[in-house]
């Protein structure tokens, strides 16, 4: 890379040693503070694995059962720690198996570095065994990627990879390393990257925009905040809380913003979007100022854009300039890291309480409670609901657990009902909607915060997409708690089929194996609950366990998740049944 030296600034040179490219990769990881990586070996990355063997006292490698699992574990680790997750794979199929996790990390802004082995430089383009153009394949789903073909490039490229993955709006970076670059020796010296010429991690904060935003906020009679993961990624939870408490503004969250504000905070008015709460969705179209903070107006949040908050002035606090005016036109765009912008705007904001406006949310909450929540959490029918399982988990965790959810009905129920006291506690695949995410992500999350309880909540469909990671749990003894909410259906698709396709249940019914036997095959304690009276005790037993634990709950087969904004409808048209 001829321009590499001119475009990246660096700090702190370490002393020079003459080593192989493979050993250099390990040293780079150690320099970046990495002590845990997930991966799967193979021919083209064997020299690096050989070095991992030598460095195993400093750098733990977790062998997942599939490369996709390695990426999701790295993502789970990154989401709960805020650090860069690292996944490693060999060339060809090893590398292509990373793609789903990389795409997931890209759309959910998760810092991750993936390292792939590649065939020898002289074999590139020869369709060699396990050769694939992973740089080409991963380009649209990475924040940055690069192919190293010479060992001497390793320190600079690795330093740049970590800097890019974690700075600004975080994202995944893939570094592909040809086998010759792993075995060649060179004089290694490491310098951390602190800037890249053509890359501005954070836009400059414009005081005039802050003033314009403050003016709108101070004049607002019915302001509504919608916050996203930007608050968590910017570690701006304290600044955010101080801001909303001073301004007295009802604050709703996107699925990835969840846990940035404690569940029981009086200004927390719930989730926006397709299966969000009734009040914040309805009132999106009644507020006079909509303040979006670290979120990107996903279509699952906005519904039909033509009837989304048209009456409101929109203020958008955002780190990524490409997100401004992408889906919703901002009247005021406050560019910058929300940690900086929220702390700067604090002194410009008037103290307020908006009592009458809050009452409108409470009135809608009452309607939603009577029509939906009561039946979800305290059902009068025989069949178990997903909601009551969440209620029992809340009772046992007191809101201190990390909840990792997969994708589908159970995910919406988990996000709607799980209680959180602290940030970085909700791990889910929001943007990409990757079924199979939760089990490996929970492994990474538990390893990232070993002192916290980590509960994976998974449907019977998604569970079987990465069920092989039970092997990783067994081998590493990582004590994750796994809850499968089994309705013997691909529930969310079935719900759409019921509501919009006249109950034509095309390929959504699952004939499932005996999940208890499978868990036991991996020597994981397992229990199945089919009756309400056994549920609380089973959840308590699971939470009390010091080891990994599998709990299957047979839930009502054809329950639906409400409220619901039908696809393409307005947030105002949110349905309660």
């Amino acid at each position: 890379m001829e321009t590499q030296t001119t475009v990246a600034s660096k700090t702190k040179a370490s002393k020079t040693v003459h080593i192989s490219g493979a050993e250099a990769v390990i040293k780079c990881l150690l320099e970046e503070g990495v002590d845990l990586i997930y991966g799967y070996p193979g021919g083209a990355i064997m020299p690096i694995y050989d070095e991992l063997y030598k460095y195993q006292d400093k750098l733990q490698h977790v062998l997942t059962r599939h490369e996709q699992g390695a990426t999701h574990s790295a993502q789970g680790f990154a989401r709960v720690t805020g650090k860069v997750g690292v996944a490693m794979a060999t060339s060809g199929p090893g590398a292509t198996n990373l793609i789903t996790g990389i795409a997931d990390a890209q759309i959910d802004s998760t810092p991750m570095v993936c390292i792939t082995g590649q065939v020898w430089k002289h074999l590139l383009g020869s369709d060699a065994f396990q050769e694939t153009d992973i740089v080409g394949i991963s380009t649209p789903v990475t924040k940055w990627n690069y192919q190293i073909t010479d060992a001497s490039e390793i320190p600079e490229v690795m330093a740049k990879a970590f800097y890019i993955a974690r700075s600004g709006r975080p994202g995944p970076v893939l570094i592909d390393i040809t086998k010759n670059a792993q075995v060649e020796t060179f004089d290694f010296e490491y310098e951390k990257c602190t800037s890249v010429r053509s890359y501005k991690a954070k836009p400059k904060v414009d005081k005039n925009q802050l003033k314009a935003a403050a003016k709108l906020i101070n004049a607002a009679k019915k302001p509504l905040i919608v916050f996203g993961q930007g608050v968590i990624l910017g570690e701006a939870e304290a600044e955010f809380k101080a801001f909303i408490e001073k301004a007295g503004i009802p604050s709703a969250w996107t699925i990835l913003g969840l846990s940035a504000l404690p569940t029981d905070h009086p200004l927390n008015v719930g989730m926006v979007g397709m299966h969000g709460n009734y009040g914040p969705n309805k009132l999106t179209n009644e507020c006079d100022v909509l303040i979006a903070i670290g979120m990107r107006f996903d279509d699952r949040v906005t519904g039909n854009l033509d009837s989304y908050a048209k009456q409101a002035k929109v203020i958008h606090f955002e780190i990524d300039p490409a997100e401004v005016d992408k889906n919703v036109k901002a009247d005021v765009a406050v560019l910058g890291d929300v940690k900086d912008t929220l702390s700067e705007i604090f002194s410009m904001i008037d103290t307020n309480v908006h009592t009458d406006w809050h009452q409108e949310f409470k009135d809608y909450d009452k309607i939603e409670y009577d029509k939906v929540i009561k039946n979800d959490l305290y059902p009068s029918k025989d069949g178990l609901t997903m909601g009551e399982v969440l209620k029992e988990i809340n009772n046992a965790s007191n809101g201190d657990a990390v909840i990792v959810s997969d994708v589908g009905q159970h995910q919406m129920i988990a996000c709607r009902y799980a209680k959180f006291n602290q940030s970085k506690s909700n791990v889910t695949s929001g943007g990409l909607g990757t079924m199979g995410f939760a089990l490996p992500a929970a492994i990474g999350a538990k390893m990232g915060v070993p002192n916290r309880e980590v509960v994976a909540i998974i449907g019977d469909g998604g569970y079987q997409m990465t069920i092989q990671e039970l092997g990783t749990i067994f081998q590493t003894r990582v004590p994750v708690k796994i809850v499968v909410l089994n309705n013997e259906f691909l529930g969310m698709v079935r719900q759409w089929q019921q509501l919009f396709f006249d109950k034509r249940y095309a390929s959504t019914e699952l004939i499932n194996p005996d999940f208890i036997t499978i868990a036991k095959g991996y020597h994981i304690d397992a229990k199945k609950v089919t009756k309400r009276e056994d549920l609380a005790a089973a959840v308590e037993e699971m939470m009390a366990s010091k080891d990994a634990y599998f709990l299957e709950v047979a839930v009502e087969k054809e329950d639906n998740v409400f409220p619901m904004i039908p696809s393409g409808a307005s947030v105002s048209d949110i349905r309660l049944s």
Partner: protein
């Protein structure tokens, strides 16, 4: 539907393998056809310049610039209408030598400020520069003589408004 028009998108970048793929993927993801594309060095050492021509709405153009500028190795991107750029395309026509002394063809070349750059026993090659429509006109006039080969370059464009890349690079550093 917002009106589509022709935009020249100029992208100043670092010189890295794979960047073309990264940029073209941005158009592909939005199902936008690239009418033409040229890559060259720019007025600044070590800085390359991509010139894309696309038919899109201004909203699309603005969003695409946002996505392009987000790429790590992109220094800055701009979009301009045809009124805001001075642009040229270049074309080569290969024609059988039997038509070389045809007076009509000589007139057509004079009219178009086209030049004959090679003559051999069997064929001769005509070069012409201009806008796409000008080259299209010449193409239509030469077609009856039987084009043995035809090729046209992508658009190259200089903008009327300033593109202050050197200052920007200072700011980055």
């Amino acid at each position: 539907m917002e009106k589509e028009r022709t935009y020249t998108i100029s992208v100043y970048t670092e010189n890295n393998i794979g960047l073309l793929n990264r940029l073209s993927a941005i158009f592909l993801k939005r199902h936008i056809n690239i009418e033409s594309m040229t890559v060259s060095k720019s007025e600044i050492d070590d800085v390359h310049r991509f010139t894309f021509v696309v038919n899109i709405s201004e909203t699309q153009a603005r969003k695409i610039i946002g996505q392009i500028e987000k790429q790590i190795e992109v220094i800055r991107a701009f979009y301009h209408t045809d009124d805001e750029v001075i642009y040229q395309e270049s074309a080569l026509f290969k024609i059988s030598t039997e038509h070389l002394y045809d007076e009509e063809i000589q007139d057509k070349l004079k009219f178009r400020r086209a030049n004959i750059i090679t003559i051999t026993e069997h064929y001769f090659v005509i070069e012409s520069s201009g806008s796409k429509s000008e080259i299209d006109k010449l193409y239509d006039r030469l077609k009856p003589y039987g084009l043995m080969q035809f090729v046209r370059s992508g658009r190259i464009a200089i903008t009327r408004p300033k593109m202050a890349i050197s200052e920007l690079l200072q700011e980055f550093n």
